[in-house]
Point group: C2
């Protein structure tokens, strides 16, 4: 237990960041949350992040706006003309998908390091995982190691020996394991959002990579997915 230790957490409103927040709270951290509005099609996730904050009793929250032009080459952006991939076999993918957002975790972590150093905190939590969906280079353990090393060379805190730690408690977990962990910590997953391509009312498509991974995770974990999907296509997978 680290009573009253402060940590910064990146909270998107999805399953992974919600579960990571619950883990950090369990471990005794007082959390300061950052959420990002960067022109994503699924900016409804920001509303979910706010509901999650209430349910997790996190009082400190900043929503940071990033001009969408910074990330302009991703299918995830509102203004993108790149088609959103649907109904793919996410287990069979071995390329970096068009939903990759350039240097997103680099930029998000950089906000968290600056904010943490301003607060006098040394701990950062991020809900990255590299098992179910290893397409993104900025979700791999070697990236987080390189980032932590860089941050400890490039900051006053790091140089003075108050080293930063990037906590990635979910890094080696499958989505089903993450859901089981979150359930054991009391998370209400109806307060989370995963879909990359929600409609104007916010309902999930059920067909994008993120919906498919979510549905597969709940199915494998043996829990009911509380999400209402526009198209409830079946998910097939091998355990």
């Amino acid at each position: 237990m680290n009573n009253n230790r402060i940590a910064v957490i990146l909270l998107s409103g999805g399953i992974d960041s919600a579960t990571t927040a619950a883990v950090a709270k369990r471990d005794g951290y007082l959390l300061f949350a950052l959420t990002f509005a960067y022109g994503q099609k699924h900016d409804i996730e920001i509303k979910f992040a706010k509901h999650l904050l209430l349910s997790l009793s996190i009082k400190n929250h900043i929503v940071i706006e990033i001009p969408s032009i910074i990330f302009s080459s991703s299918a995830l952006l509102n203004k993108s003309k790149i088609e959103m991939p649907k109904n793919r076999d996410v287990l069979a993918m071995d390329d970096i998908p068009v939903t990759y957002v350039p240097a997103r975790n680099i930029l998000f972590l950089s906000y968290s390091i600056a904010y943490a150093e301003s607060l006098g905190a040394s701990d950062i939590f991020i809900g990255a995982n590299s098992i179910d969906y290893s397409g993104y280079p900025d979700c791999r353990p070697e990236f987080f190691m390189a980032y932590e090393n860089m941050a400890n060379i490039g900051t006053k805190a790091g140089v003075m020996g108050k080293k930063f730690t990037i906590h990635t408690p979910l890094i080696d977990m499958k989505k089903s394991q993450i859901i089981c962990l979150g359930k054991s910590l009391g998370i209400d997953y109806s307060l989370t959002h995963s879909c990359y391509d929600p409609d104007e009312l916010g309902s999930s498509c059920g067909e994008c990579d993120s919906c498919i991974i979510r549905k597969r995770g709940f199915l494998e974990a043996g829990f009911l997915d509380p999400t209402k999907y526009r198209k409830n296509t079946n998910v097939s997978f091998n355990k």
Copy 2:
């Protein structure tokens, strides 16, 4: 010469970034500039950055706003209650000064990497130098090496072999050498601003670390400093 190669440049409106922009242009790069508004007391530098863009014929420019709470523990911020150091012997300093802004170059570089990857560019220019003013950990060569390594692990471009290069052409230069270089490239330094503590009219204090380094640089270089200072205290230095 790298005709028509695109690069992202961090342009603050000071001597170093102006000179770096001129170097990058000399080397044939088409520049996309980023300037940051982060609640700095000297936000007049943003106006200077815009004038510099015109004089350097740089057409692509984004001003990015960062909530000042992210950097809240620095004397450079508008809302800071930390006193701005004045009339110090900048050559004798060996601590990290209170004007240090937490993880500022980490965050600024992260914007530049995301933007560069979106543009399909691999080159970043930053006007850091570690000789005249080595107090900031994020201005040292070892930091830039660690940053570049991290960026090439954490991005699609880096993983696919299109490695990023962080160019720091001024890293080993004294301020006087930078001014001589800029003069040789035709820079009008009346379009640059250095003061950390300008008054409402934008005039420079002449006493903060940044003014002292600027005055000393012009004196050593043998050029007239075009800046009008509120207090024109003498600068002493050993060559």
